[in-house]
């Protein structure tokens, strides 16, 4: 396996190193932040190292149960979030997206997937040993694997996750997980360590419990958690499901939030607006968004599709069934499952329990399944007298919205909230 000179992973690792150095120099740098960047750096270093040594890398799509890959002692590479991370840390995604179009991918295919295929074609990411993917969360994820398999002439496994959570469907999905393990065993020559998988599921359960506890603390007024910190909570499950480092990070964070509440410290100097965030903001504008949030005292206190986990516990003695169940507890499962009363009521519950003043709907133009509910969620929240700002954007395409445009929309929205 060769690493291209165009390697974006190396650039991510380098950028994380610089950010950590800069952050450490700031007063009040939190231990949890350090733990977060350290684990992020380790994640990408592990990929680099595996690529260098020719070790087995399993590329996988979003919400794919990477805990299985970890338990087998293999190296996971999260495809979509790697595209986002490239955008976040290097700001260089345009060439990848263009390359995706060159490959024949239609412009309506979302940029993380176009960018991903483009990144592989450019040699910006190391060649995986296998591609494993699922239909969580949308048609793009369901359809993304075969092109990558063809591009690299590598084997792959498609994990079919049923739409609803009936007993039959959970059993079917657990069977799919077993088949996928068999596939990975055959391809990698490594056997599943079932004891380790049980431990991973126990960690996973703890991780979800910790996130629930953190969410409880976020209900506090003023909220102690940083304005856009939810992206870190999201990353924990994307990249480190059931891993000891994610527990370490979450425990440190929980402790810091308890301390902040004890000291009466909010996440922003003066909390003005408590927001619900619907879907992903443009990743490339995160620092800008952070500044504007600080300026207006606006904090995202709840994200029903990213951090607000569904009910239930995991049983380490039934690891596959637990992992199957987890796929229905994931916050975004509300979006890729039936949009029924259960899903709709959770939005209402979030708005009420977190004392939300307004909601921001980041309408990623490439994301069909999330944009199709804009009107629905707006109507639900408006009925609760909660205004909703919809921002047309793209998660990684810098041409979709500029900081100026975004700032203008947010300024206007915060003025409206202030008038109320």
């Amino acid at each position: 396996v060769t690493i291209s000179k165009n390697d974006r992973i190396r650039e991510i690792v380098h950028a994380i190193k610089i950010i950590m150095r800069m952050q450490k120099a700031q007063p009040g740098f939190r231990k949890s932040e350090e733990a977060y960047y350290r684990m992020l750096s380790n994640y990408f270093n592990r990929i680099l190292e595996a690529a260098g040594k020719g070790d087995f890398i399993a590329a996988h799509t979003v919400f794919f149960p990477a805990e299985i890959i970890y338990a087998m002692g293999l190296v996971p590479m999260h495809t979509e979030s790697t595209t986002w991370t490239i955008s976040l840390f290097t700001g260089k995604c345009d060439d990848m997206v263009s390359k995706g179009i060159e490959l024949g991918m239609a412009s309506e295919i979302c940029t993380p997937h176009r960018g991903l295929a483009g990144a592989y074609a450019l040699g910006a990411l190391p060649k995986p040993s296998v591609m494993v993917w699922s239909n969580m969360v949308c048609d793009n994820t369901a359809k993304s694997g075969e092109l990558i398999m063809d591009m690299f002439d590598i084997p792959g496994f498609f994990l079919d996750r049923p739409f609803k959570d009936s007993r039959n469907e959970i059993e079917y999905f657990a069977g799919e997980l077993q088949d996928m393990i068999t596939f990975l065993e055959e391809q990698s020559g490594k056997k599943m360590d079932w004891k380790k998988l049980g431990e991973t599921v126990a960690h996973l359960d703890k991780e979800i419990q910790l996130i629930r506890e953190i969410n409880e603390l976020r209900k506090h007024v003023p909220t102690p958690f940083s304005p856009l910190g939810f992206l870190q909570l999201l990353t924990v499950d994307y990249l480190f499901p059931g891993q000891p480092e994610s527990i370490e990070y979450l425990e440190l964070l929980l402790e810091e939030l308890h301390q902040a509440i004890k000291e009466g410290k909010g996440a922003v100097p003066k909390e003005q607006f408590r927001l619900m965030t619907l879907f992903l903001p443009p990743i490339y504008l995160m620092s800008f968004l952070d500044k504007i949030s600080q300026k207006h005292g606006a904090v995202s206190v709840v994200e029903p599709f990213f951090t607000f986990w569904g009910e239930g516990r995991l049983d380490p003695t039934k690891p596959l069934e637990s992992i199957a169940r987890k796929s229905y507890m994931i916050p975004e499962a509300r979006m890729y499952g039936p949009m029924d009363d259960r899903a709709i009521n959770s939005i209402k519950q979030c708005a009420k329990e977190y004392k939300v003043d307004g909601a921001i709907y980041y309408a990623d133009v490439g994301c069909r399944h999330s944009c199709a509910t804009i009107k629905l969620f707006k109507d639900i929240l408006n009925d609760m007298d909660i205004p909703v700002l919809t921002i047309d954007c793209d998660v990684v395409d810098e041409t979709s919205i500029t900081p100026g445009e975004l700032g203008e929309k947010l300024d206007g929205f915060f003025e409206l909230l202030e008038d109320r």
Binding site: L103, G104, M105, A106, E108, I109, N135, C138, D139, N140, A142, K143, S144, E146, L147, D150, F158, D160, P162, F163, K164, S166, N168, E169, Y172, G175, E176, P338, M339, A363, V365, G366, C367, R368, H369, C371, A372, T373, I374, K375, L376
Partner: protein, 390 residues
Amino acid sequence: MTESRPTVNIKLPTLEKFRVMNATFPKTREIMEWKQSGKKVFGWLCTYVPEEIIHAAGILPIRITGSIQETELDDGNAYLYVNSCSFSRSCLQLGLRSEYDFLDGVVGGSTCDGARRLFDLWRQYIGTPFHHVLTVPRKYTEKAHQLYYQEVLQFTRHLEDHLGFKIAEDKLLESIKLYNESRSLLKALYDLRKMEKPPITGAETMEVLNASFRMPKELFNSWLKDLLKELAECDCANTGRARLMLIGSVLTNPDFIKAIENQGGLVVTDELCTSTRYWSDPVILDKNKSLIESISRRYLNNFPCARMFPSDERFDRIVEYIKDFKVDGVISQIVRYCVPYSHDLPLLIKKLKNIGIPLLALDVEYGTPGSGQIQTRVQAFLEMLEVKTK
């Protein structure tokens, strides 16, 4: 290969009946008469919904489709947003404008993002007395078949609970036979298109196909038998500059095909969810399986949609049709934001290139009659095919 244009057929009175019926859809005379007789009508949103179950319950199943022509979709855009496919938006728009207010139920499947969101918003904003969404696996494994069987069983129970009676086995068997008859009649129609000079054009065939999911099957079969008789007796013969196969997303506007055929191409077969993907495979009765399991197996094994894995199942069927219908070139029409088909395209192009079949890829909006730009591209494609065959 001659350069004559396909002739417009005026010797087929039954085709005219199909045209008239389609032109008045959704509130056709046939559907309204059904309703007036006190019977129920259910709409379905995807070809994975097992119609036989609905039919056996004494209900008329019809496919929910959008406007006949490309049109402004103000309501559809407002409720579903512009990045949902225009088919979903067009269907929802008709629903919001009460064009489907006669429906007593809507049944969908978890087939693609467009279909499931259409179902979600239909339930929320339009509402009908009965709603059901089926989980449709994306694989063909035995486990997937067992899951889908359970899903179809659950749907049947839900429907029976709603109606307050059990669907009788003999009724189910009658429905299977009726739908299988319809499939074999459509196959007979398609077999005629394998001829060197088919008696029916692609645009004319689309009228028949549209009617196949918009009217009582009993009546449709009787009309189609009449049409097949007329086709056997008339001296209709169509030729073109090239024999084409039309593939891709949902399509119901015959004018789109007419626009291609007006350029001299003759559409002899297709792979669309309103055509072969709807009717091609029969329910195979197996004494070791229940009728419901036989139905569920047929729907999961049917000519696959691009949502299914592996894509080669679909590609191989396309290649088979190319050979059977002696196709010179393929036109892919993909409705914008139809992601499953967009993702498959690079792989399909590669596959067809390997067997020397050129593909023209068109991005369209649902309902388009075939704009000037499309006609120009088709014209260039036909010229290329002619050069290739010389």
